[in-house]
Symmetry: C2
Subunit: 351 residues, 2 copies
């Protein structure tokens, strides 16, 4: 089959890790008889530098025209710690989410047995962790009205949700739970927030239509604790945008395999697949960055195209590279390590 893939490599290590994922996808294509037609487009700091816009219209068009989008990473130190800067790479990201309607961010977090010693948590706690955080991505306080008083001494942001937004993401959570361990944990702050009470009411209604799935409710402060104390007890955690930003990042460090975690942002027309780590500017161009999270994001991309066997082949080869120690220095530690490009070549060859 033929597929159109948008490629938004972005900043820092973005281009070099995306390059490896494409090698792997090409290997998949030739093995399984598909064609991936890639179209590159600008995003992030590099897009600001070249066009003045972190998410240019042409890039948006490329995404719309694609069956799926592979995304690297964005962010550049020159825009950091400068909240007052007029144009910032993050605005590109938020604009992309909104314009493409990427309403759900999916982050699977599972322990890699051979990397368990890298976890900051005790082995018995992190063993067999296998959860997914589903974060609402186009609503809440990220996109509500905000502003400053005229004299600049007051500021406000608005967290706003509609019933449909909540229904849509909860239904998605039940789809994932149905394919996994049949448990949904709805995280909110219903003892304080009106928007959370809306979430909870909608969830209590939708729960009744999914009697095969266990539904739990948890306050966000409690969830922040339980993720560390008993991460194993979660299957699918679903929550609103800001809580999801915090909890999905918290969840991402518990297994110690940050450099391995992929994500999918699901949209109505197309979806975007990207590693959860950042653009790691210090490592850019050095051929040392770990490409595995991007390669696993490509696996999620293949799943979204219903290429399930192909996706499994990619996951298998990544596992193999970890087991055989054919990995970059961040994972290898004192052992022999390989360059970003070498890992990509190895994966492609072993597909």
């Amino acid at each position: 089959m033929d597929f159109k893939i948008g490629v938004l490599a972005g900043d820092g290590i973005g281009p070099e890790i995306v390059e490896q994922a494409i090698k792997v996808m090409d290997a998949v294509a030739s093995k399984y008889g598909h064609t991936f037609n890639y179209t590159e487009a600008l995003v992030g700091a590099i897009a600001i530098d070249k066009t003045g816009n972190p998410y240019p219209d042409e890039t948006h068009q490329v995404c719309l025209d694609s069956d799926a989008v592979l995304f690297g990473a964005i962010g550049d130190p020159k825009y950091d710690n400068n909240p007052a800067a007029k144009v910032r790479p993050e605005q590109g990201l938020l604009g992309m989410r909104k314009k493409l309607g990427l309403y759900a961010n999916i982050r699977p977090v599972a322990t890699f047995p051979s990397l368990i010693d890298k976890s900051p948590l005790r082995k018995d706690i992190v063993q067999d962790v296998d959860l997914v955080v589903i974060r609402e991505l186009t609503g809440g306080i990220y996109f509500g009205a905000r502003g400053r008083s005229e004299d600049q001494t007051e500021a406000f942001d608005t967290c706003y949700y509609t019933t449909e937004e909540v229904e849509r993401i909860l239904e998605l959570a039940y789809v994932y739970a149905g394919k996994r361990n049949k448990k949904v944990t709805v995280v909110d702050k219903a003892n304080v927030l009106a928007s959370s009470r809306l979430w909870r009411e909608v969830a209590q209604r939708i729960e009744k239509t999914h009697t095969d799935i266990e539904t739990d409710y948890m306050l966000v402060d409690n969830a922040a604790m339980q993720l560390i104390q008993w991460p194993k007890k979660f299957d699918v955690m679903v929550t609103e945008n800001m809580f999801g930003d915090i909890l999905s990042d918290e969840a991402s460090v518990i297994t110690g395999s940050m450099g391995l975690l992929p994500s999918a942002s699901i949209g109505r027309e197309t979806s975007v697949f990207e590693p959860i780590h950042g653009s790691y500017p210090q490592a850019a161009g050095k051929d040392i960055a770990n490409p595995l999270a991007t390669v696993l994001s490509a696996a999620m991309l293949l799943e979204s195209l219903d290429l399930l066997e192909e996706a499994q082949a990619v996951k298998d080869v990544v596992n193999k590279s970890i087991e055989e120690g054919y990995v970059t220095v961040d994972i290898a530690g004192e052992a022999t390590s390989y360059k970003t490009s070498e890992v990509g070549d190895w994966l492609a060859k072993n597909i």
Copy 2:
């Protein structure tokens, strides 16, 4: 000296743990020649049951008339998971914070060497952790305008901050850092929120007036990760109300000594001291609850009255009880354990 102490024991294990703290304070009083005049008042579910109001006016008056307030815990299962209930214990808590102007919640988190194995984190990560989370407590999304559309399908909450609110809490953070390890980490989401940009601007200004203290800025999602990965690197973390709710709870589990953590909520006129754990209804009345967090909250209370030597004596006797294993079952594990009341008696005797 004579002091007036408000005593709000609350629900669940509240009364029995507060009783032990009072034994210890009485021992301090007789040893150091002070008088503590206690006035009890209702709060929480028990206050709803008896008066229909979780924070009755008489209770507020008791607090206003006190030099400091000792607080137990609130919450009752019959009000849980019922976001629609008209009156809830939490409203009492939020009302108290607002009416007493308790603008800062202070939560020290330090590792107890002998309890390090209880931490969910690896020993090398949690060893020597010593940090304080300072949470703004009377502003932000907790107290901004909120509501529902007439047809109930939309809901919103408002996060609102003024320059003065931000200044006040940041100045307090620098006071704490000055007495500690001279480092303040300001946590916000300045890459998205207008209120966070106000926080950051104010902080960047105030930072310049405290050149003896190192100031760091961290986005909340990053802070949620770093707390687990490198908790040692924090000294004083300061943040707005909602982020503080999440991060202070997250911080509270990293040392594995949840049952030992005290807190102070600082007000203009009086301050409130309470354990960070909940009302633990399953244990109520069984004389098994761990009173140490409440006793350590009493130590913070003594500090607020400038009884520094007395406060240190309380902290010392708590450490002694832990080292000698004179503790409740949650800490003792398989070893011999003692009843709540026995621990209180022992502490009072050994002051």
